[in-house]
C-alpha cells in the first residue's frame, strides 16, 4: 500500500470542524434520541452520543458520525455536496405544490338507498330536484376542473349514492373527455359507490371510459350489514356480488374498497382483514371514523376514543405483518402512506397528510348545489350548517374568486405546520400534515391545541409505532420498504 494514502489522509475534517444541518429531535425508546432532518430522513442515536453530536464533540471516525454525515444531519469539508442533495430532496418533496389541484370531487347526488348511522351527508329522499346536481352546475364545474394547472386530473363521483344520478355521471365523463382532447391531461375517473344498484349498462359505460370503482366493505357480513343498513338488509351481499361483477367487466385492479371503523368493528379487526383477503384485495385501509356529519349527530364518533382506535389499528397492523411473514403480500394503506413520507424522498398526495394543507390545493369538492368546498370534510361541515370553508359557487364565482378566496387562503396560511405551535418543533412534522378542517370542527380553530388534538395524537402514535416496529425487526423493515414504494 506504499503508493496509497491511508483513509486518515482523506478524513480531513478534524473534531469540532463540522456544522449541524437543520434537524428536529425527541426522546425515543431505550434511551435513544430520534432525529429527523429537513427532508424526512431519520436516525436513532444513543443519548450520550447525541450530547456529543450537538456539542460538536463527536469523533469523525465514529460510525454514528459517518451515518449522520451520510444522512445529511451534519456537514464537514468532505461532503459539500450535502447542500445540493438536501435542496434537491426538498424540491422533490414540495414538487406537488406547483401542480395544484389534481382531485376533483363531484357530489352528483345526496340521495342514498342506504341509511348508515355514521354517514355524514346522505338523504333518504326521492326528491331529485332538491338533492341531485343539475346539468348546468356540472357543466360549469367541469370547466373549472380544467382551469387547474395539474397535469393529472382525477374526477371522483361521490354522494349520497352517485349511481342514483348516473345520467349526470355520463354527462360529466363525456364532457370532460371532450375538453381533454385539447387539454391532454392525464385524466382519470372514479365512482365511490356501494354498488347496490349497479347494472350491466353502468359497468359497460365504466369499461368503455376507464372509470375506476371504489366501494365500501366494512368487514364480514354481520358487521357490514350492521354498519350499513338498507331496505332488505342485504348491503353485504350486494357489495360482494357487485365487486365480482365490476371486476369481471372492468378488470380486477379497477375495483378497490374502503372500510370505516365503528364501535362494533373495534373487536373484529382480524375478521375485517380476513374479509379483504378472502375477497382477493391486496391491502386494506384501516380508517377511523371521521368526526363529521351524522357521525357527530348520532354520537357514534364519540363512542370510541383515540386510544381504542389505536389499539384496533395496531392489532390489525400486527396481524397484517404476520400475514406477510407467512408469504402473502398484503398492505395497510395508511401505514404505506406514512412510510412513503418516512422512507422516501417523495411525497404523498393524501390530502390529510400534506403541508401546506391539502384542502383546495390537492382536492376540491363541487357539491350537488353548486357550492365549492376545499375538501370532502368541509362540505360535510357545510351540510351541518357551517359554511366556514365554503369557497363560492360554480354558478356565480370565477375560478380566481374561488381559489383566491379568504375561506381557502386563511386556513392554509394559519394551519401551515412549519409555523404552528408544537408542530414546528415536532420530530414528525414532515411525516404528518396540516388539517385545518378537522381542527376547526373540533377545536373551533384552524390550528387547534395539539396536546388535545386526536389528529395529532393518532398520527404521532402511529409514526412512533411504525419506526419502532421496523427498527426492531429486519423483516418488517424490508416489508415497509415495499409498502413505502407501492
Amino acid at each position: 500500500m506504499s503508493k496509497f494514502q491511508p483513509i486518515a489522509f482523506y478524513a480531513k475534517p478534524t473534531e469540532n470542524s463540522y456544522s449541524l444541518l437543520p434537524f428536529k429531535f425527541s426522546r425515543f425508546t431505550n434511551n435513544r434520541i430520534l432525529l429527523t432532518n429537513m427532508v424526512g430522513e431519520y436516525f436513532l442515536l444513543e443519548e450520550d452520543k447525541f450530547q456529543k453530536f450537538v456539542s460538536k464533540k463527536l469523533g469523525t471516525n465514529e460510525s454514528s458520525y459517518i451515518d449522520l454525515r451520510s444522512k445529511h444531519f451534519l456537514k464537514d469539508s468532505s461532503n459539500e455536496v450535502a447542500i445540493d442533495l438536501l435542496a434537491l430532496k426538498l424540491r422533490t418533496k414540495l414538487s406537488r405544490l406547483s401542480d395544484f389541484t389534481a382531485l376533483h370531487i363531484f357530489v352528483v347526488s345526496l340521495r342514498c338507498e342506504h341509511s348508515c348511522p355514521y354517514c355524514q351527508v346522505s338523504r333518504q329522499s326521492e326528491d331529485k330536484q332538491k338533492f341531485d346536481m343539475s346539468e348546468e352546475i356540472a357543466h360549469k364545474a367541469v370547466e373549472l376542473v380544467f382551469r387547474s394547472p395539474s397535469p393529472t386530473i382525477k374526477i371522483e363521483f361521490q354522494g349520497g349514492e352517485p349511481l342514483l344520478n348516473f345520467e349526470l355521471i355520463k354527462y360529466i365523463v363525456v364532457r370532460a373527455k371532450q375538453i381533454n382532447e385539447n387539454e391532454r391531461r392525464n385524466l382519470d375517473f372514479v365512482i365511490a359507490t356501494n354498488l347496490a344498484v349497479v347494472t350491466d349498462e353502468i359497468l359497460q359505460f365504466c369499461s368503455e371510459n376507464k372509470v375506476h370503482i371504489s366501494t365500501s366493505l366494512d368487514g364480514p357480513k354481520e358487521l357490514h350489514n350492521k354498519n350499513r343498513p338498507r331496505k332488505g338488509g342485504d348491503s353485504y351481499e350486494r357489495a360482494i356480488s357487485g365487486i365480482k361483477f365490476a371486476r369481471d367487466v372492468l378488470g380486477k385492479d379497477q375495483v378497490s374498497a374502503l372500510m370505516t371503523t365503528t364501535e362494533a368493528s373495534l373487536s373484529k379487526v382480524k375478521d375485517i382483514i380476513d374479509e379483504y383477503i378472502e375477497n382477493d384485495f391486496d391491502g386494506i385501509f384501516l380508517r377511523h371514523l371521521s368526526p363529521y356529519g351524522f357521525a357527530i349527530k348520532t354520537k357514534s364518533y364519540a363512542s370510541y376514543s383515540t386510544e381504542k382506535w389505536l389499539d384496533f389499528y395496531k392489532k390489525g397492523l400486527e396481524y397484517i405483518i404476520e400475514i406477510n411473514r407467512n408469504g402473502l403480500f398484503f398492505q395497510e394503506f395508511y401505514a404505506s402512506t406514512l412510510l412513503k413520507k418516512i422512507l422516501t424522498s417523495e411525497e404523498t398526495g393524501f390530502v390529510d397528510l400534506m403541508n401546506p394543507a391539502g384542502i383546495g390545493i390537492a382536492a376540491v369538492v363541487y357539491n350537488y348545489d353548486g357550492s365549492v368546498h376545499p375538501s370532502d370534510e368541509s362540505r360535510m361541515l357545510a351540510e351541518m350548517g357551517d359554511d366556514k370553508f365554503k369557497l363560492g359557487s360554480v354558478l356565480t364565482n370565477t375560478y380566481e374568486e374561488i381559489f383566491g378566496s379568504e375561506a381557502l387562503l386563511n386556513p392554509l396560511e394559519e394551519s401551515f405546520s412549519s409555523s404552528n405551535p408544537m408542530c414546528t418543533d415536532c420530530t414528525y412534522e414532515l411525516y404528518c400534515g396540516a388539517d385545518p378542517v378537522y381542527h376547526y370542527a373540533l377545536h373551533n380553530d384552524f390550528v387547534g391545541r395539539k396536546p388535545e388534538s386526536s389528529f395529532c395524537n393518532r398520527n404521532m402514535s402511529i409514526i412512533d409505532y411504525l419506526i419502532n416496529r421496523m427498527e426492531d425487526d429486519p423483516f418488517v423493515k424490508k416489508l415497509f420498504y415495499k409498502w413505502a414504494n407501492r
Binding site: 496509497f4 483513509i7 469523525t60 451520510s70 455536496v81 442533495l85 424490508k478 420498504y481
Partner: protein, 380 residues
C-alpha cells in the same frame, strides 16, 4: 480466456503494412473493396487484399502476408486489428463475435483507485484517441454495443465529446457505454456539451463506492472526489442523460453496502441503473488483494439486502461478476452473467454443477489468483 494481443511473423518480404485493418474471410470480396481488408486464409493468393493472414500455413501471398501465432487464431470475419510495423505485434481492437467490445481511450486518470484493474499512467497517450477515431469509422454499423473506458475518458475534454459525435455519425444504431468517474460533469457547461450531442443511445457508468464521502475518497485516492462525482451525476440527470452507478464490491465498499443502497434510494432515485460488481483481480487489486479481499460468501446477505432495497424503490439493479453458488436466490432477478467472454472461465470443481448455465463464471484472474473458498457445485 481470449488473447487480445498476439505475435505474427512476416511471410512476404514486401510486407510493410502497419495500422488499422478490417479482416474478412471472404476470398471473393469484390475487388474495389479488397484494399481496405486483410484476408484470413491459409490458401488464397489474396490478390488485391491489403494483406493476407495465415493461421496454419506459411505460404507467402502475392502481396503482403503474415502468419499469426496460436493465441490469436480466434480472429475471424469482421474483426478489426492494429498491426505494428516493427515489433511483430498485433492488437485486436474489435471482435465481431463479441457483444461487449470495450475500447480503452487513455491510461491517464485523476483517480488512483485501490482496486484499479487498469493502473493509470501519466504518459501522454493521446495517440490512442486518433486511433480510436479511425476505428469508429471502420466498425460495422450493425454493432449492438460499444464501450469506452480508460483511465478517465473525459480527461480529453472536448475531444471526447467529438469522439461521441463521431459515433453518432458512423454508428447511429450502436449503444455507447462510457465508463467515467463523472467528475468532469460537475462543470455544467461540459455536461451541457455532452447532452447537446443528443445521442440516441448513450449511457455513462459512474462509480460510487460508498455513501460515506471519506471512504469513497479513500478508495479512489482523491480529495473531493465524492462531492464532484455526485455533482456530475446531478448535472447529467438534470440534463436528462442516462446514468448508471457502478459499485465495485471490495472490503471497504462492502462494509456499508446497505447504506450505499439506502443513499442511492434516498438521493439518486432517478439514476437509470445500479450495478453491484464483484472484484476483478487485475492491476492494483493484485497488489492490494490482502487488504481488499472479502469473500462473496461472507457478504451474500448484505448483497441480498442491498439488491432488494433498491428493487423495492423501483431502481433497476444488476449484480455483476458473482458466482451463482455464492448468492442467495432472492437476488436472482438482478443476477447477470456479465464477465466478458474473453476473460470468463470456470473452476475444475464446477464440473457437473447443475446450475452452470445460470452462472456467470469467474474472471480468468480470479481463477488464477484468488476466489472464494465456498464454491460448491449444485447437485441436480
Amino acid at each position: 480466456m481470449i488473447n487480445l494481443y498476439g505475435k505474427y511473423e512476416k511471410l512476404s518480404v514486401s510486407n510493410d503494412y502497419s495500422g488499422l485493418l478490417k479482416l474478412t474471410t471472404n476470398e471473393l470480396l469484390p475487388f474495389p473493396l479488397r484494399k481496405q481488408y486483410g484476408l484470413i486464409s491459409d490458401t488464397a493468393k489474396g490478390d488485391g487484399f491489403k494483406i493476407v493472414l495465415r493461421k496454419n500455413s506459411s505460404i507467402p501471398s502475392a502481396t503482403a502476408s503474415i502468419k499469426l501465432s496460436e493465441e490469436i487464431h480466434h480472429l475471424g470475419n469482421g474483426d478489426i486489428v492494429s498491426i505494428g510495423a516493427d515489433n511483430n505485434q498485433l492488437r485486436v481492437l474489435f471482435r465481431k463475435q463479441s457483444n461487449q467490445n470495450s475500447i480503452l481511450l487513455t491510461e491517464r486518470c485523476n483517480h488512483y483507485c485501490l482496486m484499479c484493474s487498469q493502473p493509470p499512467k501519466i504518459n501522454d497517450d493521446s495517440w490512442i484517441m486518433e486511433e480510436v477515431k479511425e476505428l469508429v469509422r471502420l466498425i460495422p454499423d450493425d454493432t449492438m454495443e460499444l464501450g469506452f473506458t480508460g483511465g478517465e475518458p473525459t480527461l480529453y475534454g472536448d475531444e471526447f465529446i467529438d469522439l461521441l459525435s463521431l459515433c453518432k455519425s458512423y454508428l447511429p444504431r450502436t449503444a455507447i457505454h462510457v465508463l467515467s468517474n463523472g467528475r468532469s460533469f460537475k462543470d455544467f457547461s461540459y455536461a451541457k456539451k455532452y447532452a447537446a450531442l443528443d445521442h440516441p443511445d448513450l449511457m455513462v457508468g459512474i462509480p460510487i463506492y460508498s455513501d460515506d464521502p471519506v471512504t469513497h475518497n479513500f478508495i479512489v485516492q482523491s480529495d473531493n472526489a465524492f462531492s464532484e462525482t455526485i455533482k456530475g451525476i446531478l448535472n447529467l440527470k438534470a440534463l436528462g442523460q442516462r446514468v448508471e452507478i457502478r459499485v465495485v464490491l471490495q472490503r471497504y465498499s462492502v462494509e456499508r453496502l446497505e447504506a450505499i443502497a439506502n443513499f442511492i434510494a434516498r438521493n439518486l432515485l432517478f439514476v437509470d441503473h445500479v450495478a453491484l460488481m464483484g472484484l476483478e483481480i487485475m492491476g492494483f487489486t493484485r497488489s492490494n488483494l490482502e487488504e481488499l479481499w472479502v469473500d462473496q460468501y461472507d457478504y451474500k446477505d448484505k448483497l441480498s439486502n442491498a439488491v432488494n432495497l433498491l428493487t423495492s424503490y423501483g431502481i433497476n439493479v444488476s449484480v455483476y461478476n458473482h458466482q451463482r453458488c455464492l448468492v442467495n436466490d432472492d437476488v436472482m432477478h438482478a443476477y447477470r452473467k456479465s464477465i466478458s467472454d474473453w476473460k470468463n472461465e470456470y473452476l475444475e470443481g464446477c464440473n457437473g454443477c447443475a446450475r452452470m448455465d445460470e452462472c456467470g463464471g469467474f474472471f480468468s484472474s480470479s481463477v488464477k489468483y484468488k476466489h472464494s473458498e465456498f464454491i460448491k457445485p449444485f447437485e441436480s
